[in-house]
Amino acid sequence: MDVLVPLPVAIPLIAAAALTATGHFLGRRADDLVALAASAATMVISLLLVFQASDHRLAYWFGGWRARHGLALGISFTVDPAAAGFAALAATLMTASLVFSWRYFDEVGTLFHVLMLVFLAGMCGFALSGDLFNMFVWFELMGAAAYALTGYRVEERGPLQGAINFAVTNTLGAYCVLIGIALFYGRTGALNLAQIGNTLAGQKPDGLVVVAFALVICGFLVKGAIVPFHFWLADAHAVAPTPVCVLFSGAMVELGLYGVARVYWTAFEGVPGAHAGGLTNLLLGLGALSAVVGGVMCFLQRHVKRLLAYSTISHAGVILIGIALLTPDGLAGSASTVIAHGLLKGGLFLCVGIVLSRLNSVDELVLHGHGQALWATGTLFTIGALGLAAPAPFGLFLGKSLLEESAAEHGYWWVAPLVTAVTIVSVAAILRVAGRVFLGLGAAEDALLSPEPDEEREVERDPERSSVLMLVPTALLILAGIGIGLVPGLEPHLQHAADVFRDRHSYVATVLQGRIEHGSVGSLELLQLPAASVAWSLVSLFGAIGLAALALCRHRLVPERARRRTHALAGGGLRVLRSVHSGVIGDYVAWLTFGVAAVGGLLAVVLR
């Protein structure tokens, strides 16, 4: 079965190369088919790997260079359920997105498929790799494909520099990672994660180790869209074609956070010792800040793709909170959130794609009431939004409850109300869009929302286009996202995956000593519904619906004076927040520098 391990990378890459070589001789549908087949094969193999790895962790040495006397000579893929699961999630979203593209683009060149496949290989490689420099290589491959895809067939004329902002900030993030790698290599003489971890374990963290770790995680946090590294995300989403946005929001951002967790638990876990609580506080702070900033900015958008992008930032913050707790339950909660959010957000973006292709706009106010004919899309969009509100036991509920419980257990009582509050705000924004576009509720003017440049369409869309091939993947993603929490045995499997993920000693034993350690999943009991979590989930569900209704009908519901009062209170803060998101790359890089310096400085304080 080990033979499967390199395939999630090899299949899409070979298919991409073959498409490039023969693209001039094949028709459009042949391209579609090859790309779809490669992506589906990757999905199936990754899923097989998840099951394979749930029994024991696999270490696969490329070139057959097994570790000698505990020293790695080559590069390994280290497959555990989390790694294979990430590859499977990326391949699933890619497959859905390619099916969707079948009818979405009027004409699409071979090169689009080629880049999509390379992008997929990059994501799979990053998830599976057990070598720090190799992670950097896949990180860059992901990036190179993503930057080009962002600039492809731009759906709006104006803000093309979003693609440049994306490329520049992420490239700088990658350089930070690389400098961190160089520092680690200078200290340990190793690039393999297990070996770095083995060498560093038990050492008192000095400047080199602290700063190297800070640089690596900051680089990954750029990809993970964590405040203050998040600016590029909304810009890139505003520009990128909708099928590409599915992968950005559903898999790529989460892979950045996965990178942080992976590097911490393999290379760095043995270092902080008693100071791990300091690291928790730092990451919790970053996660909470992202959750809040993402949620508020989300509420202020009228460009629906940007709105969903800010919602992704908010959820990325929540996922980071789960990682930051450094507990098995927190990690399992994050993993569950990643899966459910990836599927739901992917489905929501596909809904927006359908709206764009039928109604020629993604502006909430322009679209006011125009979506009433698209009842199927509207229903799916609303269901997807409600799934994000984490109603027990659907959608994000499992993840949210796991990480809230774990946080409460460790004395972070504020996590549950905070996560619930930001969920209310970001979901309310999506529901507001649903109400306005598909039901025609509220007014067609809203002074609260960020102004958007006049729209000028690239391509006139065909409102009569048959949308079955677009609706099917959308529906599948959203229903899968909603129902994921009901899968029997998911919770114990997630907890087992989290335990395996956190076990550095067994990781080292498998990678460097070649020992196979079997683990087993606990009993497959039915989903637990703890009372506190259910209560919070009801609050977030009804809070979101209520806030959306308030946003749509505040002219009728709230007296004039109260509205003006609120505006006076909050207006200044919102103005500052908006102006910080300036769309200018120089500002973003200044913030990035600030973020790296701040994270590095704080880490130095808490770890020493």
Binding site: I164, A167, R578, G586
Partner: protein
């Protein structure tokens, strides 16, 4: 002398960042980004350097001769390819921006505000 090459890498990194932050032209910005990346070449090669060592090429010298670290050189080779590809992609994007908006000054493009 013993830490100067590392300090050089830090200097290049920060100077390159300054260029990116203050740039008024995308072409200039891309070059500054490449400068930033070149700091990583210098850092990697400086780390692997061994006093009085030869290059790790044993064509004319016997195996076992004191030589510098080969791994950092392999990493730097990859790094250089990454640098030029990202730069080329960015320049292609910049050309598109120029065609659509008629400017390459990042500060003049702020349609993504808020």
């Amino acid at each position: 002398m013993s830490y100067l090459p590392y300090a050089l890498a830090v200097w290049i990194f920060v100077v390159g960042l300054y260029g990116v932050v203050t740039s008024r032209n995308f072409v200039h910005l891309v070059v500054c980004l490449a400068v930033t990346q070149s700091s990583t070449y210098v850092l990697l090669l400086a780390i692997g350097y061994v006093d009085r060592g030869t290059a790790p090429v044993f064509a004319d010298v016997p195996t076992g001769t004191r030589a510098v670290d080969p791994v950092v050189q392999a990493l730097t080779l990859t790094d250089i390819v990454v640098s030029v590809t990202v730069a080329a992609l960015l320049l292609a994007l910049a050309i598109q921006v120029q065609r659509r908006n008629g400017t390459m000054n990042p500060d003049e493009l702020n349609e993504l505000r808020g």
